[in-house]
Structure formats: structure tokens, C-alpha cells
């Protein structure tokens, strides 16, 4: 009974971003009812509070060291679903995995989904996430009919897409308050499968040409890039494109069994040699002439989810993730110099992704626009910090931007230069949260709340 919870309990705990490089000690509350959420927000002291939900942002977006956190895992209820329109209303702690399990059998899928199904809808709002269909479908926020936000004051407001606060909350890094519910326009799909086409590309030019072709022909497209290949093989990889597959009579879908990484790998396991060997083998795994397959949506959209806790492969020290968007006009040149820099440093790992983006996001701080986006993992080692500083410089020089959800190293100056709407965002925060109740390590690092 609620009486037992006059003050919802706070638990002191240690948290990390998904990359496990950045850590924070926080006092966390885990309310189960909206009324208790309001009480938790009232109990925030001067170090502020941030929502920590799926824990899948890589850096410090969901950390608030020495402060407080609100865990939204128990806000996982579905509130309304209309099969005629596909409109789903759900609480913010619902994950894409919940949606996949419940709605794929009914012929519906989230119109935009990040690369892991363990992210929550609230997190998808906070980062205005994108997926392998960004080129056509844009980011997550575009598919919302509305969202319910609990402001830092505890007031609940329903935000329509034309509301300035909606545009601040989408990609707002959790700083405008706590998302309570979203109304998401689900997408009808003909089956649980995609028709997947894979082809090898031998170098960066071939890669970009292939991406250019599939962005016009396919709903989904993504490329895996071997970030250690050099010389004439620089930028080699595999380009995947996919479209919803028609149903096949009698086809049986079986839930894949997830495997788990039960311990931290020793740091030596992923070294430049083992990774190059893995990459070379992976590249040759696709026949030179390419191949076509029917693959369940889940395996195509969330390949890494098949290995629970894959972040432990990088050992105890963890890894940095880096994702940038380079505007189309400069991207060929920019990608070449960024890849050369990474190859030269021998720091990159096997999870390199290169794909196209085609749409602006709806949020003031959305990561989107027309161009190429490159994502790389760097195991935490001496020297990686310097590399990330150089990469930030290069992205800035080419007029690009870095994705905050994955970042652990960007500078405040760099962030301000990449996101020109920052002053507007700041002004809205100053208005709705003058006491700076919402706060995160990322907000402090990037000086998001302070006007210069």
C-alpha cells in the first residue's frame, strides 16, 4: 500500500554507461507509480537527478555522479493500442524488446528502433534515436503523436509535436524532466522476416557507391566496416540492405536463444591482431558475389542482442564508442581521413558501422541530417583519449557532428559548435527548470546548462 512509501526508498549504487569507461555513484529511486515519481522528484537535492533506464547509452548521459537517479524499469505498462491506426500508448520504461515480443506476432513493429532492443522508449526520446532506416524514416521522435512529460516541478504536461517543449524533450538528453508515456505510431509489417541482401565491398569508394545505390532501393541499409583494413583495402566491408519480406505459408519463427558473456574478458583478448583476423574472416564470410537471405527482424535489427552483456568482451576497462555524422558534400574526403587516422592509431575494434542518413531530427539537439554516419568502438587504452580529441577536431573541420548518446569524450566547445540550437535549448531549460533539478555528468561535461 502506498502508505508504506511515504518516502520512496533510495538506494546507493554504482552505475556505468554501456561502454563501462565512465562510472558514477548515485542514489537511485525506483518508483512504481506516477505519484511516487513526483515524490522522488521533490526529494532531489542540489546535485540534481537524471533518469537511468535501459543503461544503453554508452557514455555519461544517464550518469549523475554524487547525485540522484530515477530508475524507470517499473514504468513498463502498455496503456493503449489501436490495431486500426497502429497507435500505441506506452509508459517510458517499456523496451523495444517488449514491443518486439508483443507486437511482431500481431504484425506491428516500431517504425524506428536503435541497434539494441534493450533501450527504453524514454531513452529513445531522450536521444531521438535512429536505426537502419534513418535515410527514409528519420529519427524516433518523428513517429510520436504526443508524449507525456513530468516537468522538474512535478507538473505533468502532454506535449504535441509543435510544442517547443516537445522539440526540447526529443533529443533533450533527459534534461527537461521525466518522460512518462509516449504515443508511438507503430508500423504494420507483412511478416516477421526481412529479405536481406549482403554484399562485399573492397574499399571505401565501393562502399559509398553501394550505400548510394541501396539508399534509393531499400527500406533498411547498413554497412559493417573493417576499420583496421588499410592501403588499397581501406574502408572495405559488407553492405546490407533489407526490405520487409512477404509472408511464406507454413514458415515457422523460433525465438533465438540468447547467449551471455558471464565474465569480463581479459584485456588482451581484443588486440589489433585478433581483431584484424576476426575482421578478415567476417569479411570473407559473405561470398564475393553477395547473397540473399530471409532473416527474422530481430536478428537483422538487433544482431548484438544475441550476446547478452557483449560489452564485457572489452574487459574491465571498457571501451569508448564514437559516432559522427558527416555532411554529404564532404563525406567521402572526411571518411577517408578519419579512417586513415584510426588505422594509423591501430585503436579501432571490430564493431565499425557506416551508413547513410537522410533526414533531420525533430528535436533541437537531434543527431540527424543528410550524410554519412560512422560508428566505431575503441577499447579503453592509453592514447585513445588523444585519438578521440583528434577525431572531434576532424569532424568539426568537415562540418559534422558527434552523437551524444554514444559519446564519452567530446568537449563543451565542440558540442556547442556542432549543435547550433543549443542556446534555444538552454533558454527552455532555464525557464522550466530554474533550480537545475535535472542534471547529468554529460550535461556538466558539455556545459549544456551554462550559457558561456
Amino acid at each position: 500500500m502506498a502508505d508504506a512509501n511515504l518516502n520512496p526508498g533510495w538506494r546507493h549504487d554504482s552505475f556505468t554507461g554501456w561502454g563501462r569507461v565512465l562510472r558514477g555513484e548515485m542514489d537511485a529511486a525506483r518508483p512504481e507509480r506516477i505519484a511516487d515519481l513526483a515524490k522522488a522528484l521533490q526529494a532531489v537535492d542540489r546535485r540534481g537527478v537524471i533518469v537511468h533506464a535501459g543503461g544503453r547509452s554508452y557514455g555519461d548521459a544517464a550518469l549523475n555522479s554524487g547525485g540522484q537517479a530515477i530508475l524507470t524499469s517499473r514504468f513498463d505498462r502498455l496503456l493503449d493500442f489501436d490495431p486500426a491506426s497502429g497507435l500505441l500508448v506506452a509508459e517510458a520504461g517499456v523496451t523495444f524488446d517488449d514491443l518486439r515480443r508483443l507486437f511482431l506476432p500481431r504484425g506491428f513493429l516500431a517504425p524506428v528502433t536503435p541497434g539494441t532492443a534493450f533501450a527504453t522508449l524514454g531513452g529513445a526520446v531522450a536521444h531521438d534515436v535512429h536505426g537502419k532506416n534513418q535515410d527514409r524514416a528519420g529519427n524516433f521522435g518523428r513517429h510520436l503523436a504526443w508524449l507525456d512529460l513530468m516537468l522538474p516541478s512535478g507538473e505533468i504536461r502532454r506535449l504535441m509535436p509543435d510544442d517547443p517543449l516537445f522539440r526540447a524533450t526529443v533529443a533533450g538528453l533527459g534534461l527537461t524532466g521525466v518522460v512518462i508515456a509516449v504515443a508511438l505510431k507503430m508500423m504494420a509489417v507483412p511478416s516477421r522476416f526481412v529479405a536481406l541482401h549482403e554484399r562485399r565491398v573492397r574499399n571505401l569508394d565501393e562502399f559509398l557507391d553501394a550505400l548510394e545505390e541501396v539508399r534509393r532501393t531499400a527500406a533498411y541499409s547498413v554497412g559493417w566496416i573493417d576499420a583496421l583494413a588499410q592501403g588499397s583495402s581501406l574502408g572495405r566491408g559488407i553492405v546490407e540492405s533489407a526490405d520487409p519480406a512477404p509472408p511464406v505459408e507454413g514458415e515457422h519463427y523460433r525465438e533465438a536463444r540468447a547467449r551471455r558473456v558471464a565474465f569480463d574478458f581479459p584485456a588482451i583478448a581484443l588486440n589489433p591482431l585478433s581483431i584484424s583476423l576476426f575482421n578478415a574472416q567476417h569479411w570473407r564470410g559473405v561470398p564475393a558475389r553477395g547473397r540473399e537471405r530471409r532473416v527474422p527482424y530481430d536478428r537483422f535489427l538487433y544482431p548484438l542482442d544475441a550476446i547478452k552483456g557483449w560489452n564485457r568482451l572489452y574487459g574491465r576497462r571498457g571501451f569508448h564508442q564514437f559516432q559522427c555524422l558527416l555532411p554529404e558534400a564532404n563525406s567521402r574526403k572526411a571518411l577517408r581521413s578519419i579512417l586513415e587516422t584510426c588505422v594509423g592509431s591501430r585503436a579501432a575494434s571490430f564493431l565499425g558501422v557506416l551508413k547513410t542518413m537522410g533526414q533531420q531530427g525533430t528535436g533541437l539537439l537531434s543527431f540527424g541530417g543528410r550524410g554519412h554516419t560512422l560508428a566505431l568502438d575503441f577499447p579503453a587504452r592509453p592514447g585513445v583519449g588523444d585519438l578521440l580529441v583528434r577525431l572531434e577536431r576532424m569532424v568539426l573541420d568537415h562540418g559534422g557532428c558527434i552523437y551524444a548518446a554514444k559519446d564519452s569524450r567530446m568537449s563543451a566547445e565542440g558540442f556547442a559548435a556542432m549543435y547550433p540550437n543549443l542556446p534555444q535549448f538552454r533558454a527552455i531549460l532555464a525557464e522550466i527548470d530554474p533550480g537545475q533539478r535535472m542534471m547529468s555528468d554529460l550535461a556538466r561535461r558539455l556545459a549544456i546548462r551554462e550559457a558561456p
Binding site: 500500500m1 502506498a2 502508505d3 520512496p8 538506494r11 529511486a29 507509480r33 505498462r77 502498455l78
Partner: protein, 245 residues
């Protein structure tokens, strides 16, 4: 008469009740969700419907308001049903020491409230000819401890009441299960220190459904708590009183 099972859940917004409602919903059952926080329970009902419950109705129910229990039971639909009693109230002993009135409130909810509603539900269920009652009690009722004895005494009273109720209704088609959970990861216990081997509400909800199907009498959850409590009960009082448990 409907073939689908109907579950009445009292205290529907508690952590275990929420997980339980979800299980019943996924199996296509019917639900009546009762409790005080109607707005919250509406959300639980909506969730249950989307996940497969054929019906999920919401009713106001307050364990402390015993005068309302008669009408509450009278208004239940005329068909066989099962009951999960999941309401409860706990407060730290230190708070009770400051405010003795809190002790009476804990007894009013956990003991008097439960007795009041069960005394009306059990005869009604015999009229329908069958049914299962699952009551979430606690290991705290097995022995009074300095850290939690008001709550424990209310649960001890409840356990004895359930023993008598069980024997009374055994021949009349209604099974009564006393579930004694150990440490559970609920909103009631979140942030409390000194807990170990904490079980999830979901696993407890699954166990409750199993206990009901088997018509179990008394069940510890997780089962190893039977052993832990056997040891705790075996300690002589003159030693036990010196332990700070």
C-alpha cells in the same frame, strides 16, 4: 458460464500483484483489479488488456474501510473466481516507536482488513462451488523480531486465521494458500539494507499461480526460506532475545 479463469486481485498495484495480473493476462484470463490508487490500477488494467486479458475491470477497494467490504463482495460477478490477496503495509520499527498509532494501522491493514474481506469472500466462493484463495503473508509472521515485530504479529495472526479458514473450507471446494515470501524486490523493500537472496516479483507471481493450481496449503517463496525459518524458529527464546535480528 465462462470457461476463462477469473482472478480478483486485492491490492492490485503492489509489485507482485502487477506481475501476477500480467501472467493471468498473457494466459487470456479475466481480471478484477481492486485497490486504492485507481488511477494507477487503470494503467495496470490497460496493460493487462493489451497483453491478452479478455476482461480487466477496476474496482475501488480499501482494506482499512471494513464497512465497505460487504458491498464490495456482493457486487462481484456471479461466476467462479479465484483471489490473490496482495495488499499489505509495512513501516520501519523506528517509525512505529515514534508513532504508536502506526502499529494499529499496520494491524488494521494486514490483519483486520484481510480477515474482514476473506470472511466474506470464502462463503461467496463456496456458493460458486470452487475457487482458490492465495494470500501473500510473510516469513515475518513466523517469529517476532525486534526489527519488524508489529508487521510480524499481524502476519502471524493472519497465518493462524488462514489455518482455521482452510480447515473450514477444505471440504467445500475452496483452497486457501498461505504464501510466505522472504526478501522480495518490491517498492516496499527497495532501498532497505540487510537483504540477501532477493527474489523478483515476477518469479513470486509465477509461484503463486502454481501454488493455486496445486492447491498448496502453506508455501515459502523461494522454497529455501522454509529451512531458514525452521532454524530461526528452533532458537530458544532466551538466546533469541539477545540476538538483534
Amino acid at each position: 458460464m465462462s470457461e476463462r479463469p477469473l482472478w480478483l486481485i486485492l491490492g492490485a498495484s503492489s509489485s507482485v500483484a502487477r506481475a501476477f495480473a500480467r501472467l493471468v493476462a498473457e494466459q487470456g484470463g479475466d481480471l478484477i483489479l481492486a485497490g486504492r490508487d485507481i488511477r494507477d490500477i487503470e494503467r495496470i488494467a490497460a496493460d493487462a488488456r493489451i497483453r491478452g486479458a479478455a476482461r480487466a475491470d477496476v474496482r475501488a477497494f480499501d482494506a482499512i474501510d471494513r464497512a465497505s467490504h460487504e458491498a464490495f463482495v456482493a457486487e462481484l460477478p456471479r461466476r467462479p473466481f479465484n483471489v490473490l490477496l496482495a495488499f499489505g503495509m509495512m513501516a520501519p520499527q523506528s517509525e512505529i516507536d515514534r508513532d504508536p498509532a502506526l502499529a494499529q494501522q499496520i494491524i488494521a491493514v494486514n490483519y483486520l482488513g484481510a480477515v474482514s474481506v476473506l470472511a466474506r469472500l470464502a462463503p461467496r466462493m463456496t456458493e460458486e462451488g470452487r475457487g482458490a484463495i492465495v494470500v501473500l503473508s510473510s516469513v515475518a509472521g513466523d517469529r517476532g523480531r525486534p526489527s519488524n515485530y508489529v508487521y510480524g504479529s499481524a502476519k502471524a495472526g493472519l497465518n493462524a486465521y488462514l489455518q482455521g479458514l482452510r480447515a473450514t473450507y477444505a471440504a467445500k471446494g475452496v483452497s486457501i494458500t498461505t504464501v510466505k515470501p522472504g526478501f522480495m524486490d518490491t517498492s516496499m523493500t527497495y532501498g532497505m539494507g540487510g537483504m540477501f537472496l532477493v527474489a523478483s516479483p515476477d518469479s513470486c507471481a509465477r509461484a503463486c499461480l502454481r501454488f493455486a493450481a496445486k492447491g498448496r496449503d502453506v508455501a515459502y517463496f523461494p522454497a529455501f526460506w522454509r529451512l531458514i525459518m525452521a532454524i530461526i524458529k528452533a532458537i530458544p527464546e532466551r538466546i533469541f532475545k539477545r540476538l538483534r535480528l
